[in-house]
């Protein structure tokens, strides 16, 4: 003899609501757990948040007869605010014949330049960077950079952004660059998820 099962539409609706509520709570909790850190903003109407990114790609170095050198880098970057697979391009200039700081068989030059990060859908972020570009004294080629980046504006979501922080980069003998930056950024609205 089979048990007869009765259909209770109200009970079913309550269970569905419970499941939906639990799902929303889990999703909300997950979002909170990954919310980006924020601080008091210097710009009214904009949120200041922790900003970090990593990137990599090839670079080339060109020097003229006067020792003026330029290193150009293009690659991809992932990070908070810029998302995944953003295109990053930057260049440094320095002079190989002036102002080198020599120590421990290495030489460091003050190098500076500009760059852009073009995201998949949030716009373009412009920045400037300055710091020490170091490498071997004998047959110098850029091996490491330690400096700062300063956000100088952009387009889209970054149109009124300010910010900056620390930047480091390394380059192998073939010129392949690994890039890391961490600091702060502002934009209008809530902080993005952590990168």
């Amino acid at each position: 003899m089979m048990n007869a099962r009765r259909f209770y539409p109200m009970k079913l609706a309550k269970n569905v609501l419970r499941v939906l509520g639990a799902t929303v709570a889990i999703l909300l909790g997950s979002a909170l757990a990954h919310a980006q850190a924020v601080g008091p903003s210097p710009i009214k109407g904009q949120t200041l948040f922790l900003f970090s990114f990593i990137g990599s790609g090839p670079s080339t170095v060109m020097c003229d007869d006067s020792g003026n050198c330029t290193s150009s880098f293009t690659g991809t970057a992932n990070g908070s605010a810029v998302g995944l697979n953003a295109k990053v391009a930057s260049s440094f200039t320095w002079n190989n014949e002036n102002g080198g700081i020599i120590s421990a068989n290495n030489i460091c030059y003050l190098a500076a330049g500009t760059g852009t990060v073009t995201t998949q859908n949030k716009g373009k972020l412009n920045f400037a960077q300055v710091g020490l570009l170091c490498g071997p004294l004998d047959g110098f080629s850029p091996a490491g950079f330690n400096g700062t980046f300063t956000v100088t504006g952009g387009t889209g979501k970054f149109a009124a952004s300010v910010g900056g922080g620390g930047a480091t980069a390394s380059s192998d003998s073939s010129g392949f660059v690994l890039l890391f930056g961490e600091g702060s950024l502002t934009w209008k609205g809530v902080a993005p998820p952590a990168g």
């Binding site: 909170l32 210097p42 961490e182």
Partner: protein, 184 residues
């Protein structure tokens, strides 16, 4: 709104003992505020008063620093000028506990305008008061000096200002008593 006061770093890695017997853990801080002047060579010194959020210190806390440099220390290249700058500062938590620190690093800016400029430095915690009385620590300290447009009114809820301002970021480690930072 709780999100808006989330600290820049959670308690993070920790547990290793520092030389002072206290637990060592990650320390992060982020904020902004007003500068006394644009930190240009014409002044050769500048001071910052900011509001910051961070783990350990809770939110909001007040931050102040003063730095100075010699214009004779200039390193000039690629249109930029950098000075070796040094200074000291204090972080005061909402409960009144203080962290004192010193720092030194490179202050760089455009050779013509020097605005904006950026400081890439190392901070060293030298002590404090309250639960930071025996603290030690160190890490990276960046200060981006900018000029903010618009009116010069202050926002009492934050550090919104007009004129010369700076964004500060600490990223490093700290010890404190008790052995671990309080849960937020």
């Amino acid at each position: 709104m709780a999100l808006m006061t989330t600290a820049p770093a959670q308690a993070g890695l920790g547990g290793a003992k520092a030389a002072n017997g206290q637990a060592l853990f990650e320390f992060g801080m982020l904020g902004s505020g007003a500068l006394t002047n644009p930190c240009t060579p014409a002044f050769a010194t500048c001071a910052l008063n900011a509001t910051v959020n961070g783990n350990v210190i809770n939110t909001p806390s007040s931050f102040s620093d003063t730095m100075a440099w010699s214009n004779d220390s200039a390193i000039i290249s690629a249109g930029e000028t950098c000075y070796t700058a040094a200074g000291n500062g204090t972080i005061i938590t909402k409960k009144g506990d203080q962290i004192t620190f010193i720092f030194n690093g490179l202050l760089c800016g455009d050779s013509d305008t020097f605005t904006p400029s950026s400081l890439n430095a190392t901070y060293i915690v030298t002590g404090g008061t309250g639960r930071f009385a025996s603290s030690s620590g160190s890490g990276n300290f960046t200060q981006n000096n900018i000029v903010v447009g618009g009116d010069a009114t202050s926002n009492p809820k934050g550090a919104v200002i007009g004129g010369s301002a700076a964004i500060v970021r600490f990223d490093g480690l700290l010890t404190m008593s008790p052995a671990s930072p309080p849960k937020r």
